[in-house]
């Protein structure tokens, strides 16, 4: 088989060369047989946050009168990794029946839904190039797109390398076709003004350190607002759980910004919008909590002994019913004028030009000055509060520390672009590790109480006794996990406040101090 990197296999027809004309010209050069000609539709799928693309997969769903199949291609080599007949493209992983597809997509896609990025209608021609024995020695797949230039793809046949090379040269030199990358997705997305990886839940805010703090902070809020807006439709439609998650993260970051970046924007604005975003946080929290329980359900099941796994099915049903109800209510609220108008006001406010002479004390500082000062201060607080925690401290103390760490994390992420990339990434990573243990501790605490509450609520629903027994085991397991996290805390905190880490934070945010 010829090496794809050496021989051009993928071509684009010049705009002025119609397919019929191309076929006629090809026929003059070699003996061909068109084995099929049909109307087809090529659809590309990925999750909203491009999980497949990031993992190096291209997901094609090809439909025609005779076929309907999913093809997973390797983006780099353009080779099919998997091809399977499929009548309809499902949205979530659980809806796939084919085990091979599930196996391949599951670690990448997780809970995210697949959505159609683009649909390309085209006329496809399967052309066989024949030798004097009428044996096919190479195939050409011709795709005549409605909205994009036609493409020709050489499909080599094992053992007929010379023929493949000859046809490749013929298409390049004699027929003057242009060599292209096989995947047409980028060209199709360009038609929509889009490009791959144009959404990520990770913040990527580029800031100029000398920017005025008020202008820069408005820019940060605008980026966050963008994330709120793009996740809104998926949250309302409940396409998958992560739209709401990303929506909430953007809301939380905005709230954190409004409370952390003090005396930069006018106090009345800050106060009123803080209230609005707090409300947004509050109306979205129940649905998210239920989403998390449902996402964690397989973990719950795995902690139970084999003969009790079935016993918690009523809990799943209970959660699902409530999730559906909460989600519906939330969707209603996100369509209400209360939400829409206020968000519009926020957007308009962010677009307003900055005051020439702002009254707020910190508005005219550079954003770098604000960032250094704020991060350093919150970091010091984390150290102080962390050191104050001992084995007898109440759970609230750890919870408060977790919240402070979140604030620190958000600040570092907002201002990431102004610092040395490797150093700040390392500092964020060490914080993240520390946050993990606080997260585990707090999640166990919350889930434990929630399970007890669910148990109370389920008593009126004729729930079988074994369900309560199973839930009791889950509570016990959560308590054990929380206990372990507690024991782990001091070690993790010592790691976080190690001399090297402290020196790193100092170097990053307090060199001048």
């Amino acid at each position: 088989m010829p090496d794809n990197h050496d021989i051009a296999l993928n071509f684009q027809l010049p705009e002025n060369l119609k397919v019929k004309k191309f076929l006629a010209r090809l026929d003059e050069q070699v003996s061909i047989h068109i084995s099929s000609e049909q109307y087809s539709l090529k659809n590309y799928y990925d999750s909203f946050d491009w999980r497949l693309y990031q993992a190096g997969y291209l997901c094609e769903f090809l439909q025609s009168k005779t076929t309907s199949k999913l093809i997973l291609l390797d983006i780099e080599t353009e080779k099919p990794l998997l091809s399977a007949d499929l009548d309809k493209m499902p949205s979530l992983l659980d809806e796939f029946e084919n085990p091979a597809i599930k196996r391949m997509l599951s670690p990448v896609l997780e809970m995210r839904a697949l959505n159609c990025l683009t649909s390309l209608p085209f006329q496809s021609y399967q052309i066989n190039v024949l030798n004097k024995d009428q044996k096919t020695t190479v195939r050409i797949l011709l795709e005549d797109y409605e909205a994009l230039p036609a493409r020709a793809t050489i499909q080599p046949i094992k053992g007929y390398d010379k023929s493949c090379i000859r046809i490749s040269e013929l298409l390049t030199d004699t027929l003057e076709l242009k060599r292209v990358k096989k995947n047409i997705l980028q060209a199709a997305l360009k038609l929509q003004g889009r490009k791959p990886l144009d959404y990520s839940s990770k913040l990527k805010i580029q800031l100029d350190p000398s920017m005025r703090a008020d202008i820069a902070s408005k820019y940060i809020y605008s980026c966050l607002l963008q994330n709120i807006k793009v996740n809104e439709a998926g949250t309302i439609a409940d396409t998958d759980s992560e739209f709401l998650h990303d929506f909430r993260v953007a809301v939380r970051r905005t709230r954190s910004g409004l409370s952390q970046l003090k005396e930069i924007l006018p106090i009345d604005k800050t106060a009123s919008f803080s209230e609005y975003f707090a409300w947004l946080g509050q109306i979205t929290s129940l649905t998210r909590d239920l989403d998390v329980y449902l996402l964690d359900f397989p973990t719950f099941e795995s902690t139970l002994p084999e003969n009790m796994k079935q016993a918690i099915t009523p809990l799943h049903n209970f959660l699902k019913v409530r999730q559906v109800k909460a989600q519906k209510e939330l969707a209603g609220k996100l369509k209400s004028p209360e939400y829409v108008l206020r968000l519009q006001e926020w957007e308009e406010y962010l677009k307003e030009p900055a005051a020439k002479k702002p009254l707020e004390a910190n508005a005219l500082l550079t954003i770098k000055q604000v960032a250094d000062k704020r991060i350093w201060k919150v970091y010091q607080r984390v150290l102080k509060d962390g050191n104050a925690i001992d084995n007898d401290s109440p759970a609230e103390a750890l919870h408060d520390l977790r919240k402070t760490c979140k604030k620190l994390r958000y600040l570092m992420e907002f201002f990431q672009s102004m610092y040395d990339e490797t150093t700040i990434n390392h500092a964020i990573k060490s914080l993240k590790k520390f946050q993990d243990i606080l997260g585990t501790f707090q999640d166990c605490e919350v889930q434990e109480h929630a399970l007890i509450q669910f148990g109370e609520d389920m008593r009126n629903e004729k729930t079988p006794t074994e369900t309560f027994l199973a839930m009791g085991i889950l509570v016990q397991h959560l308590q054990q996990r929380q206990q372990l996290a507690r024991l782990d805390f001091s070690g993790r905190f010592d790691m976080f406040q190690s001399t090297e880490n402290q020196a790193e934070y100092k170097k990053l945010f307090s060199e001048k101090n």
């Binding site: 066989n128 024995d133 009428q134 044996k135 096919t136 046949i157 094992k158 053992g159 007929y160």
Partner: protein, 247 residues
């Protein structure tokens, strides 16, 4: 990977058309299939319109000097590749005899491609020779066409004895009736008595039919030029029985 050898001590019993049509049906049902034409006459190679030529001939092939994968040709049908015959295959016995452990040779040669294919069909020349012994060692199923004549009874018994004497326990013998003519009383009688005496005989019987003869003109498996006929039905039934055997 399963290896099926289309084999008979006798010639002209429909080995090649069986190998070619079964390989086609297997490929069509999604099995990545390779047909290896071991017969120097190169009939199955001819049916796929491929040149009966193997670079370096039988010597280099058996010596393992040529990468098997590099000699394989894609057929005109999806999932179906062909390892063509070469005239030098008439000396395969001699070449094998000059190697150490000649009987294990084919199995060893197939090893590098066993991940690539779900099914390998060996189209073997007639005779019991060193090559056939190497084929028996490499195969899981020995698919043996039998024409319903008295002579065939003898060949089937010879084959069974050979397998028993050589303790080829891994090998499933799958004899089936080939080129049958239901109009002939003798065919009907022999088939009936053989079914009684040899319960291991496959139930499907491939008729003597003009469309099978036409394969030589069309130069492709039956499925390539007719949708449905008694012959295609017979091969389908045979393929289904083989699938059960493979499980």
């Amino acid at each position: 990977m399963t290896v099926i050898a289309a084999y008979s001590i006798k010639g002209g019993v429909g080995k090649t058309s069986t190998a070619v049509n079964l390989a086609y049906l297997a490929a069509n049902s999604g099995y990545k299939t390779l047909i290896w034409d071991l017969d120097p006459q190169g009939a199955s190679t001819f049916y796929f319109r491929i040149k009966p030529k193997v670079k370096g001939g039988s010597k280099k092939l058996i010596a393992g000097e040529r990468d098997l994968d590099g000699l394989i040709k894609g057929s005109d049908f999806a999932n179906l590749d062909v390892l063509p015959a070469d005239f030098s295959f008439r000396n395969l016995d001699l070449v094998l005899d000059s190697r150490k452990k000649p009987k294990q040779r084919l199995e060893k040669l197939l090893k590098p491609v066993d991940k690539e294919y779900d099914l390998i069909v060996l189209d073997c020349p007639p005779n019991i020779s060193l090559l056939s012994e190497a084929v028996f060692a490499a195969s899981d199923i020995l698919l043996s066409p039998i024409i319903p004549t008295t002579l065939s009874l003898r060949t089937l018994e010879q084959l069974k004895k050979f397998i028993k004497d050589n303790k080829l326990e891994h090998l499933k013998l799958a004899p089936f009736f080939s080129m049958t003519d239901r109009r002939k009383k003798m065919h009907r009688d022999i088939m009936q008595s053989l079914f009684d005496e040899h319960p291991d005989l496959l139930q499907s019987a491939v008729p003597y039919a003009s469309d099978i003869e036409r394969m030589g003109l069309e130069r492709m498996p039956l499925g390539g030029f007719i949708n449905k006929s008694r012959s295609t039905d017979a091969y389908q039934a045979l393929w289904r029985e083989l699938q059960d055997l493979m499980e």
